[in-house]
Structure formats: C-alpha cells, structure tokens
Amino acid sequence: MLARRIIPCLDVRDGRVVKGVQFRNHEDVGDILELAMRYRDEGADELVFYDITASVDDRTVSPEWISLISSEIDIPFCVAGGIDSVEAAGARLSAGADKISVNSPALARPELIDELVAAFGTQCIVSGIDSFFDGKVYRVKSHTGDPDKMRETGREMLDWAKEVIERGVGEIVLNCMNQDGVRQGYDIPQLSALRKVCPVPLIASGGAGAPEHFRDVFKKANVDGALAASVFHKSIIAIPDLKRNLKESGIEVRL
C-alpha cells in the first residue's frame, strides 16, 4: 500500500535554514545539509527546500547546494523559490532535485506551468499555493517570503488549484497561511475542499503542532502527505515517534 508521506520543510534564506511565524520574524534554525541529513536518518519520506527570499529578491535557488544535498541524501527532495523558466528548472533538476515547486512566478505567468510540464513531465512539477482565509474566502497570495513584499493575486484558492491541475502539475502543496507556524492543526475544511476536486497528490502544509494533527489531516482530509517545519526543527515531534503513532492509528506509513 502507498504510504502517507511525512515531509519536513526547510525554509532557506542566505544559505541557512530559518523559520518564521505566519511568514514573519524568521529565526535561524541551522545548517541546510546538517538538518537534511538528520531528517534523512530519522525516516523523513521527502524533503522540501524553499528559498523563501528567491522570488522577492529576484533570484533563484542555487544549483550548487542542490548538488551537495543530492550527493548526501537518498530520499527524494523538492526545491522551490523563484524558479521562473525552463532553464532555471532544468539546472536544478540536473543538479539532483527530484521535483520543482513553482508559486509566485506561475501566478505572474501561468503558462510557465505548461512549459515546465512539456519539458520535464508532470511527475516533477509541483504547484505551491499560499492561501489566506479572510473570513469569507480563501485568497491566493504571492511573494510570501517577505511580509513587506507580499501581494494579493485576486485569485481564489479553488479556482487557481483547478487551473494548475489543468495545466498539468503532478502535485499540489496547499499552504494554509492562517495556520502557518502556530501549531494549532492543519486547516481540515480547506484541505478537504481541495481534496474533492484534486486528482493529483495533495500535500497539507501549515499548522502541525502535535501528532494528532497529522492523524486528523490524513484521516479527515485524505491528503497524501503532510508537511511541517517548526515541530521538526525544534524537536517538538520526533519523526520516528510520529510515524509509530500514525501506524498505531491505522495510517499506512513507512517505518
């Protein structure tokens, strides 16, 4: 049976891993390679590296550190941040990234997704969506790496998700911004709404604070994977304990 994936997310800024709360006040949590190797050893199923300043500062994640990570890591990993062309994506895939996640550049120019899918296949193109609930609707934001540069896109989450699926992405990571870094649990209603219309793998992001949050998001929103950052970085939850806990709850995981 296909295992549900546990995915530590490493926000990278200036070559270090950082973590903020609701996308603000980032603090340093460690070295990229050291953390990546720790998670590999603890049984993470996949890693995501977000260069959170790449889009806002108009640069892209460096192939050099992707290559370094690829030489040490024997689990799949995805890189994101400012990738805005077939060339930029190709350089990162060649350096050893397994998947490319696009967010702000695809919102600015949605055809980018079609171009990437045509060049590399649907299986390695991921759409990252940052969604903020304003009390009425889920609004898609862009350039979320820096609060001062964050933008309204005028798009609603479900509409944008349907569009990226039509354009051929192989996976969606839905980051529920209200929940980010506050450890109160994943946004089950929002993820369930997307799950109903999402035929590609769906990854939940934002809000993990306790093992039961993971259990709930798998059981109630039926997502394929759950992404988390601070609970892993700060050793609030140990991945081996989490996986045993999920297994005992009847959720298929790779131990």
């Binding site: 549900r4 290559s67 024997d74 689990i75 060649s94 050893g96 397994d98 590399f120 192989g170 394929d224």
Partner: protein, 199 residues
C-alpha cells in the same frame, strides 16, 4: 569495474551517479557508443516523457548498441519502461528498445490520485540476485503515470489501484520502476546487488 550511466539527455543522471558513489563505485556518465559498448555494466536512467528519451537515444545513435547489449544493464523508472517493446504516452504508441517483451501503458489507479507518487511496497516474486535481502513489504520510492503489467518477466510487483511490475528482468537486462537512488536503504541494497551481480 567500468560502470557506465547512459546519458539519455534526461535530468536525474547526477542523482543516480551520486547513489553509486555512496556505495564506493565510480560510474561514468557517457553517450559515447564505444564507451557504452565496452562497459562491464550499464545503467539506463530516465525521467520525463518516453518520446523525448527515445528521440535522444536515437539522435545519439545508441539504438543498435542498446538493442544488442550482452552485459548486465539496469533501467531505472522511464529507463525501465524503455526496455519494453512498446510504450504509450499521451495516447500515442511509441517503439521501445524491445529487450523485454510487453507493452507499457497508463497505470490504472482507479480512484486514487495520479501520478503514483511516494513510497510503496515491493512484493518480490522470485529469487533473483538483484533482490537479495529485499523483503516483501519493503518500501521504495515511485513516481510515474505509466507502468508494465505483470508478466513472466516480473521479478517484483507493486500495487496502486491495480498491480504492475516493480522489478523486471529478461536475461542480462533488468529494470526498476521505482527510483533506487531515492529509496533509502532498500534502494541502496538493490544498487549494491546490481554491482555484485554475476550473470
């Protein structure tokens, strides 16, 4: 031992190279017909679209060499699919290398999300040295939308909506539908088995 990773122009060559280097091997990435023909063992990696990969192999004049390989060769993911006679891609049928009889078609995932992406379990069916120390239920990392049906050439199966071939073999030619270079200890064991394989 001369270990050559065939440069199909696809993107995951360096990941495969790194995985063998972690095992102490020193693979070369090459698209030189002579280097490939004289290698002791060959690896045919591949990600992306089948027509793109086959066009690259054709353009590099490697079709006839690959059709006649005598040394052990392992195809990985799309590289495994290319070993079959025919492949479906986007509704079209293209010709593969024809080293393993059969057709690669769209996976029937039923109501499960597609592509098949993530860690799924292997069910070894035979005692084949490539699968030494691999147990039923071990997880490997898959990412694909197409697959080969079960056949007499299936060494290990996997199930996602419906069963398909996870590891195939005919004579000196074998393939993994999953990515051993990204399958943690299970993947490393399979690559180690390939290095130690004597046919």
């Amino acid at each position: 031992m001369s270990l050559v990773i065939i440069d199909t122009g696809c993107a995951n060559l360096s990941s495969v190279k790194f995985a063998f280097e972690r095992l102490g091997a020193e693979p070369t990435i090459s698209d030189e017909p002579l280097t490939i023909a004289t290698a002791e063992k060959l690896i045919l990696p591949g990600v992306g679209a089948a027509p793109f990969a086959m066009d690259n192999i054709r353009r590099k004049d490697l079709i006839s060499i690959l059709k006649q390989v005598r040394q052990p060769m392992i195809g990985i993911c799309l590289g495994m699919q290319l070993l079959y006679e025919t492949l479906e891609e986007g509704g079209e049928i293209i010709e593969g290398l024809g080293l393993i009889p059969g057709h690669v078609g769209a996976l029937d995932t039923k109501d499960l999300p597609s592509p098949h992406m993530g860690w799924n379990q292997l069910h070894p069916l035979t005692d084949f040295p490539l699968l030494n120390d691999i147990q039923t239920g071990d997880y490997a990392y898959f990412v694909h939308s197409y697959g080969a049906p079960l056949s007499q050439y299936t060494m290990a199966a996997c199930n996602y909506g419906s069963p398909f071939t996870a590891v195939a073999r005919k004579d000196n030619v074998m393939g993994c539908q999953f990515h051993p270079e990204r399958s943690s200890k299970v993947g490393a064991q399979i690559l180690k088995n390939f290095l130690e394989l004597e046919l």
